[in-house]
């Protein structure tokens, strides 16, 4: 059981780190603002989610685990809001076709 949880931690955190890396490359390499936002949201939602998931077995207490999940949810909320705001700004500025 302990080994299985450790394997889960390693796999999930590695997956999360990979998404962070991929999101950062996307942010640097994608051509325009909306696709860059797309790359960023993957980091917020899935990348941080996987890292939190992987760290849950190591939290030690249920309260600490709940706090980590709350942080993930709050980051999701703020990330989604900021992405929407930036996208609205881009949408207003681009010339109407």
């Amino acid at each position: 059981m302990k080994l299985a949880l450790q394997i889960l931690t390693v796999l999930a955190v590695s997956g999360g780190c990979f998404l962070f890396l991929a999101g950062t490359i996307g942010l640097l390499r994608f051509p325009d603002t909306t696709t860059r936002l797309h790359a960023l949201t993957k980091v917020d939602n899935l990348g941080l989610g996987l890292i939190v998931l992987g760290l849950l077995p190591t939290a030690g207490s249920p309260l600490l685990a709940l706090k980590m999940i709350a942080i993930w949810l709050l980051v999701q909320l703020s990330g989604a809001t900021v992405s929407q705001l930036i996208a609205q700004l881009v949408h207003e500025q681009e010339p109407r076709a």
Partner: protein, 313 residues
Amino acid sequence: MSLPLALEISFAVVLLANAVWIVIAREVVAAVIIFVAYGLLLAIVWVRLAAPDVALTEAAIGGGVTGVLLLGAAARLRATEATAKPASVSTRLVAAAICVTTSCALAYVVGSLPDAAPTLAPAAMASLPETGLGNPVAGVLFVYRALDTLLEKAVLLLALVGVWSLAPDRLWGGTPELCAFPRRSSTLLLLAQLLPPVGILAGVYMFWVGAKLPGGAFQGGTILAAMWLLVVMTGLEDIPPTSRRWMRLLAIVGPAIFVVIGFAGFALANAFLAYPAGYAKPLIIVIEGTLTLSIAITLGLLAAGPPVRAQHQ
């Protein structure tokens, strides 16, 4: 090279690069955004240095409130920015000389510190149980160096009076406006409806836990101020005119109670700002609780800026 060392060096390099970027950024708004990122990075560095109390304050103040203040300043400057003349070469040279001198002096002082820095930490930890507090930082702030903390709050109030004094006479007591954020957006409105309950809980928790663990009045108050600013920014609530009696009372209630308890120390514990034996922790909780509210309203009003609309008659 070990992994932690590599991490620390990369943090230092990124921080320095950020600082240089802030200075050379062409647009004020861009510089402010980099400054906010700089504050958040610095918070991570404080965590790395095992100073979570400082990290929380840096994230809340350096990354948060200062960012809002500077964005407000940038919005006010926008009109004059385009026509402003760049500083003359001699002014720049003088500024550069002052910066270089200050940096060299700081580097010399840091370099000449004794290897084993003189510390009061063991003495502070040894008498911490007498205060009933678990967080040594709270012990320093409210027991050993309470006078510093009290003066810090007085400075905050003076800053608020200073900001209000920027308004012309006829607007004194009028309503401030967050001119940096004129855009009304339904997305932000949703955030302003969802986040405050969580944020208020987090702010109160941070003040409450500050006696035992990292946290405290300043960090908690900053989160409360942020929630108020979010609600005001989206137009859900108006900023009350600065002449409102309850608002002014709220801004001074924390420092006032601090002063009263401080003077009571003369009678009850033989010294200014001393607590009677056994009552230190409850008194500190009362001070911190009221300070949290005062800090929240003061920081919020500082960010809101001077009154720009006259009071309704």
